[in-house]
């Protein structure tokens, strides 16, 4: 009897969550989605320092898009001075804060679906420096031609996630949220 009461309580509690899931980007609604939908993408975490320092030049990629061993290479003490050809060096306390943020939310221990796919696709002895070198991410973008990305002045690079993934800042990368400048939903 008590068990039924608990279940009924859960259903009542779940109802507003279902309604909310319908509005949420990427969520297709339904009770299971309300419970598990928020784990479909990557963890939507924010850090002001990270967004200011790293997000000035490129999309502030969610930490869950790379494993810890990759982030550790990217933000190693001497690495930022030659960051893919750019000087992205920051003061040491700033670097430490950014490194800690990335480590804490890296793909390794994540429950989010895309982080799990990211980490499963990378061989254990590899630590890619670029998110576009993650096999899962590369596979997902394999069919895109140059006209849509490299030769598209409003995209330029696969690194520019938010140019096409309109909800990327909210950590949503679902197909339904893709809108390629000049091509729309044609890919």
């Amino acid at each position: 009897m008590r068990r039924w009461a608990v279940l009924a309580g859960l259903l009542v509690l779940g109802t507003p969550a279902v309604a909310a899931a319908d509005d949420s980007p990427g969520g297709s609604g339904g009770f299971l989605d309300a419970l598990f939908g928020r784990h479909k993408e990557v963890e939507p975490v924010h850090n002001d320092t990270y967004e200011e320092e790293c997000g000035a030049c490129h999309f502030a990629y969610q930490p869950g898009l790379l494993p810890r061993r990759s982030w550790d290479r990217v933000v190693a003490p001497d690495a930022l001075e030659d960051h893919f050809g750019d000087d992205a060096s920051v003061e040491e306390p700033v670097r430490k804060e950014i490194a800690a943020f990335l480590d804490a939310h890296a793909a390794d221990d994540s429950w989010y679906k895309r982080s799990i796919k990211v980490r499963r696709s990378i061989p254990k002895d590899e630590a890619p420096l670029r998110i576009t070198d993650v096999p899962y991410i590369r596979r997902k973008h394999a069919d895109l031609d140059k006209a849509r990305v490299q030769d598209n002045p409003k995209v330029k690079s696969l690194a520019n996630c938010a140019a096409c993934h309109r909800k990327a800042a909210d950590a949503v990368y679902d197909d339904d949220t893709v809108d390629i400048p000049g091509f729309g939903r044609d890919w």
Partner: protein, 137 residues
């Protein structure tokens, strides 16, 4: 008491309005110009900086680079990072009043961007001239 407050507000408004109209130099710019002078710079030249802004330098990748590669040729319009495509807010104070208000931020970007565009750090004289040029945009 209330009358006093109103009077204070009127006085403040009278003082503040011409200040806005004249668009006084941001304190950060004045501070950095002083610092550059102490580092030996003299005779900042806004016209020279305006030329330097578009002057191209060859990079290791064989392409030519200048400030406008990323910032664009119209300072009142957004620019775009040459590699990542990320939009960069306009440089002109007239449309982006947040520009040139934080000395640490200005210095950080001089360091990064002089190295990217010119392959070397800018001298205090060059940095001061760029500020003289940019502060009035």
């Amino acid at each position: 008491m209330q009358k006093q407050l109103v009077r204070a507000a009127i006085v403040l408004a009278l003082v503040a309005v011409p200040g806005i109209a004249l668009a006084a130099d941001p304190a950060a710019v004045t501070q950095l110009l002083d610092q550059y002078r102490q580092e030996g710079a003299a005779g900042f030249d806004a016209a020279r900086a305006k030329d330097d802004w578009t002057k191209e330098h060859p990079a290791d990748d064989g392409k030519m680079r200048s400030c406008i590669t990323c910032h664009g040729s119209d300072l009142t319009k957004p620019g775009r990072h040459a590699k990542t495509g990320k939009v960069i807010d306009p440089m002109a104070r007239s449309v982006n009043p947040d520009r040139y208000t934080d000395p640490a931020k200005i210095e950080k970007w001089f360091k990064r961007n002089c190295k990217w565009a010119w392959g070397r750090l800018c001298t205090p004289q060059e940095k001061g001239s760029f500020l003289m040029f940019l502060k009035d945009t």
